[in-house]
Amino acid sequence: MAHTGHDATSYAPPAELPEMELAHPKTFIGKYIWSQDAKVIAIQYAITATAIGFVALVLSILIRLQLGFPGTFSFMTPETYLQHVSMHGMIMVIYLLTALFLGGFGNYLIPLMCGARDMVFPYLNMLSYWVYLLAVLVLAASFFVPGGPTGAGWTLYPPQAISPGTPGIDGGIILMLASLALFIIGFTMGGLNYIVTVLQARTRGMTLMRLPLTIWGIFMATVLAMLAFPALLVAALMMLMDLLVGTSFFMPTMMALGEQTGYQDGSPLLFQHLFWFFGHPEVYIVALPAFGIVSDILATHARRNIFGYRMMVWALVAIGGLSFVVWAHHMYVSGMNPYFGFLFATTTLIIAVPTAIKVYNWVLTLWRGNIQLTLPMLFSIAFIFTFINGGLSGLFLGNVTVDVPLADTYFVVGHFHMVMAVAPIMVVFAAIYHWFPKITGRMLHSGMGHVHFWVTFIGTYAIYYPMHYLGFAGVPRRYYAYGETGFIPESVVTLNSAITIAAVVVSLVQILFIYNLVWSTFRGREAGPNPWKATTLEWQTEHTPPRHGNFGKELPVVYRWPYDYSVPGAKDDFIPQNVPPEQVEMLPEGAVGAGR
């Protein structure tokens, strides 16, 4: 018998769980507002995250206007500058990227790709979204309280986050901390769902080692989040108590603008340890879903199996585990015991090994593939390029000695934007262009998509790559203006102006993208059930878009891994996961098309 796939078997284990009972609402509000359907919740998450993300995008443009053209705009004071910087960072990292990857893609894809009817706790899942929305609203409210939002930086380091001299101590910081607590509560509800669904609700035959890497990435990220967010939660609550009740968890015996404070013997470093114990895994909470998603998109559009699937899975697990023992590389110059530097530099550089393996395997998936340069593929290639750049600059900052001169400079800004802003956003775009046909039944407009791609890809590189060199020159971050600083030449202002112009252009093209989403939802070309000829279960649903319950009368049964593209001897260049070996249509012996 000819080769019909890597691990295909005709055997599927019997069903262990009874069919899930779903509450099918009849009203519009029940279906689309108070919905318990993970797919609707996913879209709610995505729309909310995108909306608040646009606020953060506008803030970044205001920041760039000040940096590019200092002394031009009277709406940019040192106070508003810091407020914009802080809110931009916090929104982008938590309220956009985390919510979009896990709440958005997680909700949409986990049940579909695992072959489940829905998340295992649909009601909790709904609640998760509404608490998230509340968190977003509380955060947005801080723009309207006296004194405005906090300007403590997204890292919220005490003492300054709750000391006079920092914007937003009248109310902004309270709302920020409360919003974070709400976000974490809401996320915990969702996160439990994602984990239990992946572990318990996979369909027959869907072994863990047959899960698409998308699910592996989202699953690992959720595990990280469930372990990491509690550290942030306690840090936020302890800081709230320092501010409101007068405890001194993080507040040392100190002055504040010439006045003695009542604080005594607290530890500012304790906050940093808690924050980064969350903060570093947070990088991977954003990155791992991106890693997973891009793997699936590359395989589908290169018509080739992902290279080294098992290695990819173990790399995800290894990165997830290691991400908990590298946090203090954010603190090399924080005043912690400097001997920690040896340990954390070593663990940090070790994490580069599994990360590099992932990059190799993505590139090796393209190698000997049959690459279709669709929009999802273009964005994925852009991701690889950006991620290589951002990953390598991480080797500078992770190596404690090299970090010392570069910490708190624009090198850091360039690095983390490249690696955890641009790279994951490229995957977000790739994923939207890839799954939009399933979600709406229509294709996104290709012309608008290409304009969006080229401007975004080249534009973001023009923004962030030169920033690294400002960092070498020692230009510090979080500065409202540079005034006359001996080591900062005039040419830095020129470069900043150029970066600002690039940033404005990239931002404008995102409006085109939103327009494309809306236009294509109603006017796009009909997609059909499986336009990319993909193997995973979400493309095998009876209806497109899938209805509540996802699949038809019977849940699909899985007979193979998700990467049976271009299987030698098979007639089609893809075999869906739910096709048993005996149903694969074979080419006649000796026919062309059996590999290269």
Partner: protein, 468 residues
């Protein structure tokens, strides 16, 4: 195939940018050339990987572009290839890490012959302390910090009295002598950064942090704060001057010890009154000022801020810019004051004068000014009462026309840009937020509404009415 071409261009552009970029490491002024070497090693290793992997990516995109007649190869795994790649990567990572750790080993090992000095950070300025003749720092306690003991030194500790205090953001260090830099903050976290030294470290309240270096190149270097410390973060500046040992010794001998400062007699307003005779012609016998002579009212101003400005006028840090005509007029009078005691006495006398009513003369939108003033309030106080600890003099009760002139001077660098006017420098940076005449008028109109000590609410109301 456009993507392959663009990737190729980006790759070439990235490499070219690296070699042609005018933005590079500042000239090294310390012993930490080893840090620069580690950066260089990292550049070569990562640069090599960047080029090779991306070239392979471009090759794969071109070579394996879509062809309906061809099929991808089906190859789920290739164990030996994966092992090789893992092995090579591990070696590369080790090659980066090893030199980094070796250099870090020397970074954390302070040489025995290092002398010591302490950097104190506070919102938003620097000061410094040397251990004095006994080579031991006196004990400090933040609870002891007062206006007269800004370092919080313990007067009962015998090691304290000979500690040399530098109450200025400028410090001198002798060349070629290893120095251990001890660091602490009295409030939030700061970071002592001199780009040319490469080494830097955070300053925290409640603990002492350290680093060490050997200055190797004479010259003046900017000190900046590299840890977000609030609104004044970007304006928290200082200067390190690396000099020959003799120059350092001479400078060092001129710095007061804690004991000397403690023993200094309180200023004498009675003596100050006699000195004030020369001021009367312009500022009036009651310090009420004279608009026609461009002399602002000074009655009741805080002595510390008057003294600082008199010192600046006397040294030429203020009133020497060619466009500062009125400042130039003030200078000769300030130079009449013989020494620091004379300055302190006359400043003390001025503080005793009763503040006078200030008539609003500037019209502006006070409500808009209030929003702008939020930034100013961090140093000058919400009520414009001034905060000595952040070097922000009182603004309420000062002639509004004088504010307008001075804000314009700051904004243009006519005042405050002098090399020795370190606190004025901060105000130059801050004044950049007032981008138009209108901004200046609005913020001054708001300051007019702030009730100064000694001003009645009635005059404050009057100021408020003038806004519309």
């Amino acid at each position: 195939m456009a993507i392959a071409l663009v990737l190729m261009l980006l790759l070439v552009g990235t490499v070219l940018f690296h070699f042609l970029s005018p933005w590079n490491l500042t000239p090294l002024a310390s012993n930490w050339g080893a840090i620069d070497n580690t950066i260089l090693i990292t550049f070569w290793v990562t640069g090599f990987v960047f080029v090779v992997v991306n070239l392979f990516l471009v090759y794969a995109i071109i070579r394996y572009r879509y062809n309906a007649a061809r099929r991808s190869s089906y190859e789920p795994e290739n164990k030996s290839l994966e092992l090789w790649l893992t092995g090579i990567t591990t070696v590369g990572i080790a090659a980066l890490l090893a030199p980094g750790l070796v250099v870090w080993g020397s970074f954390v090992t302070v040489p025995d012959d290092a002398h010591e000095f302490e950097v104190i950070g506070q919102q938003w300025h620097w000061s410094f302390r040397f251990p004095g003749e006994d080579g031991e720092f006196g004990a400090v306690d933040p609870r002891l910090i007062t206006e007269d003991n800004p370092f919080g030194l313990d007067p009962d500790d015998p090691n304290s009295l000979d500690d040399v205090l530098v109450q200025s953001p400028v410090v001198l260090l002798p060349i070629d002598r290893p120095v251990k830099v001890l660091m602490r903050s009295t409030d939030v976290i700061h970071n002592f950064k001199v780009a040319n030294f490469r080494a830097k470290m955070d300053l925290l309240a409640g603990q002492v942090t350290y680093m060490w270096l050997t200055p190797t190149r004479e010259g003046e270097y900017d000190v900046i704060c590299a840890q977000l410390c609030g609104v004044g973060h970007f304006a928290m500046r200082g200067r390190v001057e690396i000099v020959q040992q003799e120059v350092f010794d001479e400078w060092f001998a001129r710095q007061p010890t804690f004991g000397e400062l403690q023993a200094r007699a309180a200023p004498d307003p009675v003596a100050g009154e006699q000195l004030y005779a020369t001021c009367i012609a312009c500022h009036g016998s009651g310090g009420e000022g004279n608009r026609d002579l461009n002399s602002p009212a000074i009655a009741g101003m805080d002595a510390w801020s008057v003294a600082r400005q008199l010192k600046n006028f006397r040294s030429g840090a203020r009133g020497t810019h060619s466009e500062d005509i009125y400042g130039q007029q003030m200078r000769p009078f300030a130079t009449l004051l013989a020494d620091e005691d004379a300055i302190r006495n006359v400043a003390a006398y001025i503080e005793t004068l009763s503040p006078v009513r200030i008539e609003p003369t500037v019209a502006g939108d006070a409500r808009r000014g209030e929003r702008l003033y939020r930034t100013c309030a961090n140093c000058h106080g919400r009520d414009g009462q001034g905060i000595r600890a952040v070097n922000g003099p009182a603004l309420a009760g000062v002639d509004d026309w004088y504010h307008v002139t001075q804000l314009a001077n700051f904004r243009e660098g006519v005042r405050g840009r002098h090399h020795e006017d370190m606190y004025g420098n901060q105000m130059v940076d801050m004044a950049q937020m007032l981008v138009s005449e209108r901004d200046v008028r609005d913020v001054v109109a708001y300051i007019n509404t702030l009730a100064a000590p000694g001003r009645t609410m009635a005059t404050a109301q009057l100021g408020a009415q003038g806004d519309d």
